[in-house]
């Protein structure tokens, strides 16, 4: 993680980011862990950034490159995938597939010019609502530092 945060420091926009900027972040959450953890965060009244849009998946292995890119197409500033801890996927290895796909999509995002650091993969179990909140905060903070996605910047300019 530290490595990515360093990359984020490097990639910060030269102009200061608008302090009122609220990033749109999409979280693809596995039904058996992250989604349940998010539920638990709600039940325990633990607050997490409200700009995280959670999308429930049957398994983190459901994500593919197209789905991740599509989120950026639709205006997301950041995207993350949250799956079960490694070794405890409900479908045995869906989270490993997700991990590889996220890694691959990061490279593609770099190539496109959006930046791979806007995409991340997290692993935690259904009981770890604190981790759900912590990871949501990490992502929120990171995207706030990076500023709006280049796609959204261009869209705002053309308006």
């Amino acid at each position: 993680m530290a490595e990515t945060e360093e990359k984020v420091e490097e990639k910060q926009p030269k102009q200061p980011v608008d302090p009122n900027f609220v990033p749109k972040i999409v979280a693809f959450c596995c039904n058996f862990c992250a989604y349940a953890a998010g539920d638990l965060a709600g039940s325990t009244r633990t607050e997490y950034p409200s700009n995280i849009k959670v999308i429930r998946l049957p398994c983190s292995g459901r994500v593919d490159t197209r789905l991740l890119l599509r989120a950026f197409e639709e205006g997301a500033d950041g995207v993350y995938v949250a799956g079960c801890e490694e070794g405890s996927c409900h479908f045995a290895e869906g989270n490993y597939w997700a991990k590889r796909r996220v890694k691959n999509a990061k490279k593609l995002l770099d190539e496109i010019g959006i930046g791979g650091e806007r995409l991340e993969m997290f692993n935690f179990s259904a009981s770890m609502f604190d981790k759900f909140v912590a990871n949501a905060k990490i992502m929120d903070e990171r995207i706030r530092k990076l500023g709006p996605s280049p796609v959204n910047v261009a869209a705002a300019k053309s308006k």
């Binding site: 593609l108 959006i114 796609v151």
Partner: protein, 237 residues
């Protein structure tokens, strides 16, 4: 199977720069199997191009389509009139597919989205290796079914050479096995080591690309119109 790799996005993006509406055409054949030109890859490439265009402040309309094969004429009919809607096509079929598309639709602008690499086999999930070079005169009968033309880095016909070490090739000792070691082991296992003692003559490369553009004719089917004419001729005897 024909194995092909995706071109860098930047290169494809350069091809389509002047156009606002394009088609990304996938192929359901070999390139689908090697995960570079199928329906899913059409989707990914479409998204990538659209995103890059958005960053540049322009919109890109894309018609996504995948046909079962791009190297046979009849499958192009499945495209209907969709081709008329677009200014250019990015084909992620192999080189043959791209050219067939150009031949079928001479007025269309077609750009390749893949680098066609080799004839190969999926050795394990996600790994494809060159197995055949299409040299036009097969030597597999003498080598126990393992091809030295395609799989020896030097293409030597009477091996191994001095670069064979512990069964691997010196060109890339981690990934390339010495094919002459494989051939020896194989011939030994089928008790045909006598074959390795036969010295193969210099290879006649005229059957490969060195002999010019190759074609194949099936006498029963070749030039069907002409054949039908021939069929009408009275039978002898």
């Amino acid at each position: 199977m024909i194995v092909a790799e995706t071109k860098p996005i930047e290169e494809i993006y350069g091809f389509i720069e002047p156009y606002n509406k394009i088609m990304v055409l996938g192929c359901g054949g070999c390139v689908s199997v090697c995960l570079s030109g199928g329906e899913k890859e059409v989707g990914v490439l479409t998204s990538a191009l659209k995103l890059k265009r958005k960053i540049d402040g322009r919109e890109l309309e894309v018609v996504e389509m995948t046909i079962p094969r791009q190297c046979d004429w009849e499958y192009f009919d499945l495209m209907g009139s969709r081709l008329d809607e677009v200014e250019a096509v990015v084909s992620i079929g192999c080189g043959a597919g791209v050219q067939a598309l150009v031949k079928k639709f001479p007025d269309s602008l077609v750009y390749p989205g893949l680098n066609t690499s080799f004839l190969g086999v999926g050795e394990k999930p996600g790994v494809w290796v060159e197995y055949c070079q299409g040299c036009g005169s097969c030597v597999l009968g003498l080598t126990g079914g393992i091809c030295p033309v395609a799989r020896c880095s030097k293409h030597i016909l009477n091996g191994p050479c001095g670069g064979s070490e512990k069964g691997m090739c010196e060109v890339d000792p981690k990934n390339i096995p010495c094919v002459w070691q494989l051939i020896y082991d194989r011939l030994k296992s089928i008790d045909r080591l006598d074959l390795i003692e036969k010295i193969m003559d210099m290879k006649d490369w005229s059957t490969a690309t060195d002999g010019g553009v190759r074609r194949m004719e099936n006498p029963e089917v070749f030039a069907l119109e002409h054949k039908q004419q021939e069929d009408k001729e009275p039978a002898k005897g």
